[in-house]
């Protein structure tokens, strides 16, 4: 680890707005750690607040845009990914991050995630995976482990937890990683890689919910995870094998698949790289069409 890197100035991502001062996360929540990891990653990448846009859904995790100074859009439960895709394709010069919880991204937003993998916009999807619904006070999420009892699953969850890593690899996603926010430096590096990766990057970030998830605690994540030190992320089969391991759960970059992005493939940018907002309507093309409509 380069000791200088730690000293990177991330104060430019500190929002000074009145509404940013009273943070709604519970004391001790993993979301604080993720914020720290994210601002460090952005600072180390040398990005400026106005070059980044965080589009979030709804949930505790999705409040991120208010506690960090970048462009932000706090949208609707499950909809961060299509909105982020629209932002990126309208202005590919922006670094676009879609952020939300496991309920946000995997339940309400599940279908969008699947199709975003197919579409492959160059955005980074950060999922704060606390294996529970935080904001709505502790119902099971798609990643809650079997057997966990909650106020709305008093009999214990019997559904299979969602394995986003295996699913994303099965869909030949562009970049798939998992981390635990308790490992600061490793998480910063993974998020930097994800942001730098050209194409859709999915990072599932374990973080404890100290208020509602009494099973998956800081200690639990440390005990039940390990780092993949000897893994080749370009080997899809190997990646898939790791993805279906359950205990301990592997952390690190599972899979990288370099391929053209949505923005590279849409006809809009074939001849011209100007962001959409700078463009003027092509009246001469309309004249051409009307001319054809006149002839025949």
């Amino acid at each position: 680890m380069n000791p200088n890197v730690e000293k990177v100035d991330k104060s430019r991502f500190e929002p000074k707005r009145p509404g940013s001062q009273d943070i709604a996360w519970c004391p001790g929540c993993g979301n604080f750690g993720i914020r720290n990891i994210l601002t460090t990653a952005l600072a180390e990448l040398g990005l400026n607040p106005n070059e980044v846009a965080i589009i979030s859904g709804i949930g505790q995790a999705a409040k991120m845009p208010h506690y960090i100074k970048v462009n932000g859009y706090h949208t609707l439960h499950g909809r961060a990914i299509p909105i982020a895709t629209g932002v990126k394709v309208a202005n590919p010069e922006l670094t676009v991050i879609a952020e939300g919880g496991d309920g946000d991204m995997y339940a309400e937003g599940g279908n969008h995630l699947l199709h975003a993998i197919r579409r492959n916009p160059d955005i980074t999807v950060l999922i704060h995976d606390n294996q529970i619904y935080g904001l709505t006070k502790g119902q099971a999420s798609p990643t809650t482990m079997k057997g966990m009892k909650t106020p709305t699953q008093p009999w214990g969850v019997f559904e299979e937890p969602f394995n986003v890593i295996a699913l994303a690899i099965a869909l030949d996603a562009s970049f798939v990683a998992r981390t635990f926010m308790g490992y600061f430096r490793e998480s910063v590096e993974i998020i930097k890689k994800a942001i730098e990766h050209k194409g859709l990057a999915i990072v599932d970030i374990f973080h404890p919910c100290v208020s509602f998830n009494k099973v998956n605690t800081y200690a639990w994540y440390r005990e039940h995870t390990y780092w993949m030190d000897d893994h080749d992320p370009y080997d899809r089969e190997a990646a898939f094998k790791r993805a279906i391991e359950t205990d301990p759960l592997p952390l690190g970059v599972f899979y990288i698949n370099e391929k053209p992005t949505f923005e590279e493939l849409v006809p809009a940018y074939k001849r011209d790289k100007t962001p959409l907002w700078k463009r003027e309507p092509k009246v001469e093309e309309i004249r051409k069409i009307l001319d054809i409509k006149r002839r025949l």
Partner: protein, 570 residues
């Protein structure tokens, strides 16, 4: 002998997949090129093969823009067409075709001109040319320019090779000569004046006009999930995406479509979604987001009958209440409903300026009838089209939701200016951060739902009055029924009846009240409850006295409106 003067309606009927559309295209294009005013509208079943679809083509000395019930010339391509249109046939209807396609019972009721379409097609080489033969016959009856038919066939079939083009031309020629012969023999007589100017006009459908208008208005992003009858706009945009340098994306569902478009607007693009009622229903969640976040969005909604999947390929003005009330909470929106193809173009253009200026959802409400109708019209005045942009730079200290007098906060976009832009679907302070403050909540609610709405209302254009200001009767119509009602009033021939047409539906400028004072008001609407009549009451306190409603999934015909008006005013 049957004589037709000035204005004819030619109807072609056949199964889906039988190529009626080709005939329709040959006819409209070449007759227009020959100097005739043309109008075409189709009705079709929700199936890919079989069933019965028909197309009406009106050919006239004067501009024609409205659907009529009567059929002057009918060309059936299969059995079953005559029973399907039996209410539209009279003794003066001429049926041209093969005997096997005309049910016995109709043989004495119509003028039947038997033509050996199949044999003629086979003579050219294949049954496939039957359509082209039929088209040739009709062009012949009008003494249309055959060179235009040739031109068209070359363009249409060019990609399929020289042989296909030549065979089609041969087939059309055979038909054309037969058409001329029918004229000479006096089987029919057709007298419609030509006008050279018409030949030089454009022929455009409602769907194309919406798409072109949007492009002229700077649309550079279109997302959609296919749904009849709105898909035509997406097809057109997709086919021209590269030339215009625009993003056209078919997404996983309507929820994604509108959210992606909201994201695009947030980042400064001019985005539109095209959908129908069922798709819009899925978009209502994001509509509220647009309302709260003051995110501009343009939505084209081509109506078809509901509820639910309703009649997928038919028409209705039944989604006004949907677009009026969709979304939870209070927020303003603008609803436009073009009355004709020109308005479809100009209003689609303007929709983007309005969305940009007021930062609200702007809904362009068309319907199957309008998007599938086309006729000749003078070229648009492109120089008059103005793209007004309202984006500001995010200077240090920028506040996305600054409280202003008129309710409109200057909108910056990410990446333009030094500061950042925070948008939010939660209640927020001026910077865009979440708030639960009582006083701020009140001010933000009032800003969006009252002050902004009033700003829009004040600037809303008035409806168009066609007819005398002192007319006793005011016929109220909105959207695509414009020319149908107009022609009916013309036929009614009374100068105490005027038409008040609305293409800006919401919010209504309160000055519009003046048109109604002391009048007998008749609302003509294509839905079962009179949704616009209700809106007039709610917005302006105007009571409609008579409602002329139709809701069988078919457009109004001029005759139906005329009959209904007669009952009221006579």
């Amino acid at each position: 002998m049957v004589e037709f003067r000035e204005d004819l309606s030619v109807v072609l009927g056949g199964a889906a997949g039988q190529g009626i559309q080709t005939v329709e295209e040959i006819l409209t294009r070449t007759l227009k090129f020959s100097g005739y005013n043309v109008y075409a509208n189709k009705e079709y079943m929700s199936r890919v093969r079989g069933g019965i679809n028909t197309t009406e083509i009106r050919v006239s000395s004067k501009r024609v823009r409205a659907f009529v019930k009567k059929i002057d010339i009918l060309i059936p391509f299969k059995r079953g067409v005559l029973p399907w249109v039996k209410d539209r046939i009279s003794e003066s209807t001429v049926v041209i075709g093969e005997k096997e396609n005309v049910e016995e019972e109709f043989l004495e009721k119509v003028h039947f001109i038997e033509v050996p379409l199949t044999k003629m097609a086979l003579d050219v080489g294949s049954q496939l040319y039957l359509n082209t033969v039929a088209a040739g016959i009709v062009v012949g009856i009008f003494r249309g320019e055959f060179s235009a038919v040739e031109e068209y066939l070359k363009e249409r079939f060019g990609s399929k090779g020289e042989n296909v083009v030549q065979k089609n031309i041969e087939a059309a020629k055979k038909g054309y000569e037969l058409g001329l012969k029918l004229l000479e023999e006096g089987a029919v007589k057709v007298e419609v004046q030509r006008d050279e100017k018409v030949g030089d006009e454009i022929l455009l459908s409602g769907a194309e006009a919406v798409a072109l208008g949007a492009l002229a208005g700077g649309m550079n992003f279109l997302s959609f999930y296919p749904m009849s009858p709105s898909t035509g706009v997406a097809v057109f945009a997709a086919q021209h995406a590269e030339d215009f340098g625009i993003v056209v994306e078919q997404v996983e569902d309507e929820i994604s479509a509108i959210n992606m478009a909201l994201g695009a607007w947030y980042a400064g693009a001019r985005a539109m979604v095209t959908t129908s009622g069922g798709g819009f229903a899925l978009m209502t969640e994001a509509l509220s987001l647009a309302g709260m976040a003051e995110n501009p969005i343009v939505i084209h909604l081509a109506q078809r009958p509901g509820p639910a999947t309703g009649l997928p390929t038919r028409t209705m003005q039944g989604d006004l209440n949907l677009v009026l009330h969709a979304g939870h909470g209070d927020f303003p929106r603008i609803i436009l409903a073009p009355g004709n193809i020109e308005e479809a173009f100009y209003l689609s253009t303007e929709a983007f300026n309005l969305a940009d200026r007021y930062q609200v959802p702007v809904i362009i409400l068309t319907d199957q009838y309008l998007v599938d109708t086309y006729y000749n019209l003078p070229e648009f005045e492109l120089d008059k089209v103005k793209v007004e942009k309202h984006i500001v730079e995010a200077k240090p200290g920028y506040r996305r939701y600054e409280l202003t007098e008129d309710g409109i906060s200057p909108r910056a976009i990410p990446g333009y200016g030094e500061d950042v832009v925070v948008a939010n679907g939660n209640e927020h302070d001026e910077w865009g951060d979440i708030t639960e403050d009582e006083e701020l909540t009140v001010r933000m609610q009032e800003k969006r739902a009252i002050r902004k709405l009033e700003t829009i209302r004040k600037n809303a254009p008035l409806p168009r009055l066609l007819g005398g200001e002192d007319a006793k009767y005011i016929i109220v119509a909105w959207g695509s029924t414009l020319h149908i009602v107009e022609e009916a009033i013309e036929k009614l021939g009374r100068d105490d009846v005027a038409l008040l047409h609305f293409s800006w539906l919401y919010p209504l400028n309160l000055e519009a009240k003046k048109f109604f004072e002391g009048k007998t008001i008749i609302a003509v609407e294509l839905n079962v409850t009179g949704q616009f009549a209700e809106l007039l009451r709610k917005e302006l306190g105007v009571e409609v006295h008579h409602r002329v409603l139709k809701y069988d999934g078919r457009p109004f015909s001029v005759e139906e409106v005329l009959d209904a008006l007669k009952v009221v005013v006579e």
